[in-house]
Subunit: 230 residues, 2 copies
Amino acid sequence: MIDRELVDALPIFHGLDASALDKLLAHASQRSHAKGDTVFQQGEEATHFYVLLRGRLKVQQVTADGQQFIVRVVNPGDLFGFAMALGRTQYPGTPIAAVDSVTLAWPMGMMNDILQHNPTFAINTMQMIGQRLDAAHDRLREMSTQEVEGRVAHAVIRLAQEAGVKSGSEIRIDFPISRQDIAEMTGTTLHTVSRIISHWETKGLVKGGRQLLVIADLAGLRRLAGDEAS
Amino acid sequence: MIDRELVDALPIFHGLDASALDKLLAHASQRSHAKGDTVFQQGEEATHFYVLLRGRLKVQQVTADGQQFIVRVVNPGDLFGFAMALGRTQYPGTPIAAVDSVTLAWPMGMMNDILQHNPTFAINTMQMIGQRLDAAHDRLREMSTQEVEGRVAHAVIRLAQEAGVKSGSEIRIDFPISRQDIAEMTGTTLHTVSRIISHWETKGLVKGGRQLLVIADLAGLRRLAGDEAS
DNA sequence: TCCCCTCTTTGAGACAGAGCAAAGAGGGGT
DNA sequence: ACCCCTCTTTGCTCTGTCTCAAAGAGGGGA
């Protein structure tokens, strides 16, 4: 059975009235995705929208010439796959479970339904998309103006913020992430990422490992990211 | 006086009821901006949101270390400066009039007002922002995976689509745009843009000039942009 | 426990594009 | 009509990063 409290607690549904919530619960279907599974495929007809309940997803796109690109990481509580609400009919990317994950899915039609009848939900969603737009613009500015090291620093800081777990003075990225992944987030190669992270290790900024990243000195990384003028 | 028909015809306000429209008209203020003027400044407190009625704006950001970046071009009918609706309190960029332009401005508070009472407006706005998010992701993918020539090709194609005027088989970008501008849209230098465009001229793809760009062979550019696998 | 597979590290060479420099060239203002 | 200022073009050098290559290294499965 689907946990009402769980759904109720999702920020995105905040302010929904009881009847809308009932309807949501009635139509939701819960799915589990083993590590490595895809929730849906880029290009597929968009039939459902989703919320991630537990786990972590990487949303990947493949370009026409076969290159990979990671659009974003989906964290618990995040809405994803709602492309159709934006006028698209196909999913623009492929969400891949980075760890065993659990999602809730609703048929796409419900989205318009709720949007029409719940201004609050529409505004919530609009703001959520707006924040993502902001974030995308930040990344664009970075990609345009910064060199690789700064971009990787930004990516790592972002990961620390959205998927970081504190242990003492250190912050561990809470899911397996490879050098390749970071390269695909920042538009570079795994080799360059590896070199940069190795270099950071010698400076005591981070600690690396197989699919592992621990931030030891966030302030130092921020300095490298260079968004505060010195 | 502000033209009711003009406001009524803006796609973004489509579906608003008469009373909301009355209110909009009552609170709108029209402003003219000479070529080169800014509508507001990056970092300024966001007090108003805007619609561009006539003209063309370039939205520019300056990074902490002084580099310039063009976020987008605002075309007639576009909403801009609505950052506060997304939870921001300051404008993230500076819109600069590329040609003499006319805008309508409303106090920010009205935005929430209309959003709350007009689900349709909320949905319209959400979709508009969503489309922009899509576009931003497209650019991110490009920046990550393509070399400069492909990125410049994409930028030019985009300009042709949103600000292109057909004359015969050619498409002219309908506002003054410099090599520097294109460089700031694609994360490169004016030198490289100049070289690329010169090269394209010799191949008959485009015709250049001082702050001028005419596309002669759109299909050829698309091929260079390389989003259709060959 | 061992082996294999994947991920990571590191080296060396090549190249796209940045940076620096300077010479055209078109337009607007006087 | 001229001049100046800005924009554009083009050459050369330098370097950050990619590419190619190959050697570790950690973990999971048998």
